[in-house]
């Protein structure tokens, strides 16, 4: 060998089978390619490796495939296995991972953009809805809001990110709710659930009922 000592040549020669199979990392691949270009004897030995590779594939491919009986046996054995208990929290995580694993980078980028747009639209429409409600109530100064704490019963609510503005509008109207403030940190809105001060048990009952709606991500009573 012209460019390397015997030890290095042996190192390179040991890598030839993986080079032929295409499973070397970039650094080793480049080392082998450089040595092969420079060493005719190594190149001759590489041809032996390539012969072995070709015949190993030929041999394995001639082995055929297992009979369908194996699949039937396997499914029968699986059928006899005890039923799996699925934990919802684990399944949710797995589903999220699976969802993102199945998206191509381009799809992911578009999804992120679409999600950001949807959140902006939702915030904008809710703000518009609040302004509309306020304007319907006539002129008011910043120092004198139409509704102040203590004049009704309130809850803090966070809407599901996927809920559309139309869904939220419909939800608020159907439950005779009005947005009194927000969004604060954590995208929480303060909503009036009654025009009078309700007993704690009544507020809890209403909040519990609202919690069941699909647009609600989080809800809790507040003063």
């Amino acid at each position: 060998m012209n460019t390397a000592n015997d030890g290095e040549r042996r190192d390179i020669e040991d890598l030839l089978p993986w080079h032929a199979a295409g499973t070397l990392g970039r650094r080793d691949r480049e080392r082998v390619e450089a040595a092969l270009a420079d060493d005719p004897e190594l190149a001759r030995r590489y041809e032996l490796v390539r012969e072995e590779l070709a015949q190993t594939i030929h041999l394995n491919e001639s082995l055929g495939a297992p009979s369908p009986r194996v699949m039937e046996t396997l499914l029968a054995k699986i059928g006899a296995e005890p039923a799996r208990r699925r934990r919802a929290s684990i399944d949710l995580g797995a589903r999220v991972r699976e969802f993102f694993a199945n998206l191509s980078p381009r799809t992911l980028a578009w999804s992120a953009s679409a999600a950001a747009l949807a959140i902006m639209l939702q915030a904008g429409l809710i703000a518009g809805f609040m302004l509309k409600q306020k304007s319907a109530g006539g002129y008011e100064t910043a120092s004198a809001p139409a509704e102040t704490a203590g004049e009704g019963s309130y809850a803090l609510i966070r809407f599901q990110p996927q809920a559309s503005a139309a869904d939220i509008t419909q939800f608020l109207a159907a439950n005779k709710l009005s947005i009194a403030g927000g969004p604060s940190a954590g995208a929480l809105y303060r909503v009036r659930i009654a025009t009078t001060k309700l007993a704690s048990s009544d507020r809890d009952r209403i909040v519990k009922a609202l919690q069941a709606d699909r647009v609600v991500g989080f809800i809790a009573t507040t003063e």
Binding site: L48, E52, L53, N60, S67, M71, N102, S104
Partner: protein
């Protein structure tokens, strides 16, 4: 068309999805079967082991952490089960003595005829290597496993993987020489 990755399928299998199991089986059963068959040299036993391998995949899917490729993980399971069978059959010693005993048929009529086809002789010699050498040759050449992956499957250091591959190839050259083909190496 985008196909579901093996890792996703194993996640579904962990949740009890039998269809995912069938997809994974359809994708890998032939290669796993051939790997086992090359070690055991018995089709019926290889089929039994294959079934056991995928049953283990079903049972252990929840523990799969994705540190290695799914195919590598399955070959590890297959190897463990095949070696268990070999041990039960009294062939636990996977050394060259086995191959040596088998290889003493240098000039039977079949191999004399095969000399005309170097490839055929080479394939014949590949079948006469010891299980240990067949295994590493197949993992590297047919199953396209890297040094690191072979080390993980076989459970030996990476340096030993290279050494073992060298000796497997050396033995192959010796078997070829016995059949009149001198490769001039090693």
């Amino acid at each position: 068309m985008q196909t579901t990755s093996d890792e996703v399928l194993i996640g579904r299998i962990a949740g009890g999805d039998r269809l995912a199991m069938q997809v994974l089986y359809a994708r890998h059963h032939v290669r796993v079967y051939r790997f086992v068959l090359r070690l055991l040299r018995n089709e019926s036993t290889a089929e039994d082991v294959l079934s056991e391998v995928f049953l283990d995949v079903w049972r252990q899917a929840e523990k799969f952490e994705g540190r290695s490729a799914a195919a590598t993980w399955m070959l590890s399971i297959a190897r463990f089960k095949a070696l268990s069978v070999l041990r039960r059959q009294g062939e636990a010693e996977l050394d060259d003595e086995t191959a040596g005993a088998i290889a003493d048929h240098a000039d039977d009529p079949e191999s004399a005829l095969a000399k005309k086809d170097k490839g055929a002789v080479l394939r014949q010699c590949l079948t006469r290597l010891s299980a240990e050498h067949r295994e590493i040759i197949d993992l590297v050449y047919y199953h396209e496993k890297s040094v690191e992956e072979v080390a993980g499957i076989v459970g030996i250091p990476e340096a030993t993987v290279k050494t073992r591959m060298f000796y497997a190839r050396k033995k192959l050259s010796e078997l070829l020489k016995e059949r009149g083909i001198d490769r001039g190496w090693p």
